[in-house]
Symmetry: C2
């Protein structure tokens, strides 16, 4: 092996994702990652000032991925603002289930308490997307009577709560053995009713999306 690793920073992040998926955020240690990658225990320090900086980088990537998923979902949902808003929430829940490591990184207290400008900005973008989605949906007729701020808070709470419920293994017993995809759809329906969306038949569908929607269309 060469003296220099080549791309230690990326390797550390990738390995950390694995560790989080396997054993949780608590199990991430700089020394442990260094061992796993065959470098000295102080090598990670060249790339991350401390443990929290590494976790912050992971959380930032998590926000980026979840936001990407939400925007993709909204785009595929078509033009109706209510359908788009539902898709934001549904996509976030799907992200949490498919990328639990990043989801845990985002929501871990040790990360959330962190003051980090980049991370705070990523979080703000995430929140803004959901807020604008809620506001647009309200203008389109979703809970017109409600306080807009409450509607935004409700959207955030429902998205976070549902994502936590479906992504955390410790709640799998609660959700029962039933089909998680269908259950998640049903829960989202209680937040933003599909029946309120204007045009399910006129919705543009991509090839990747159509398969996912087959069940919920029944």
């Amino acid at each position: 092996m060469s003296y220099h690793h080549g791309n230690l920073r990326e390797a550390l992040l990738r390995r950390a994702v694995q560790v989080i998926a396997d054993s949780g955020v608590e199990a991430v240690s700089l020394r442990g990652l260094a061992r796993d990658l065959g470098v000295s225990h102080a090598a990670p320090r060249r790339h991350f000032a401390d443990r929290r900086a590494l976790l912050a980088a992971l959380a930032q990537e998590g926000f980026r991925r979840s936001l990407q998923a939400m925007e993709d979902g909204a785009r595929e949902a078509g033009d109706d603002p209510i359908a788009r808003h539902r898709a934001l929430g549904r996509s976030y829940v799907r992200f949490a289930c498919e990328d639990p490591a990043y989801f845990r990184a985002i929501n871990h207290p040790e990360v959330s308490d962190l003051v980090d400008h980049e991370l705070a900005a990523a979080k703000r973008r995430w929140f803004t997307t959901l807020r604008e989605g809620a506001e647009a949906a309200q203008r389109a007729g979703w809970h017109p009577e409600a306080d807009p701020q409450a509607l935004v808070a409700f959207s955030v709470a429902a998205a976070m709560g549902a994502a936590t419920l479906f992504a955390d293994e410790r709640w799998h017993g609660v959700t029962g053995g039933s089909d998680a995809e269908k259950l998640a759809d049903d829960v989202l329906d209680l937040v933003v009713h599909r029946s309120r969306t204007s045009a399910p038949r006129a919705r543009k569908r991509t090839a990747s999306r159509s398969k996912r929607n087959e069940r919920s269309a029944s």
Copy 2:
């Protein structure tokens, strides 16, 4: 000082609650607690096998307290199952805001991942209460069309999400400078509409409860 502390176990738990409130669950260390209480660093071991056991005890007490709050809230909400179910959620959010240390203990990943029979039982009781509340509310006309399991999951997700939103300081910027009590009420209204509850005027009110509700009645 006497050789024996007297009630070290309780003192450890009380001090841990303070530390969590001040600096979060991560800041709880057995040695730190021992220092704060003026005992040797190994003394806590007599009462808690390890750090997680102490956190588990805290979480257990947290479940007990939140459940107590929820049951009290439901009792004060009267007989209508829908009003009672709303009160369960509202009381949980209030518990999270008033006892953030216990709320954090309950939801901290390091605690949730723990396998502990007592803790699991407490959690199960908490969930069962919310499940039965949701089922009773549905029988009384709350979302009669919905899949019962989805309705339960929606209730859990909304309660957890709202509690997280209102209890975690890191979201205070999101909820804006507005009155948190009113906002929480408005959010809960989006989960279980007060207008759907049968008899707000016939509701029994205790002295302690009536003051709290004055604002939300406006």
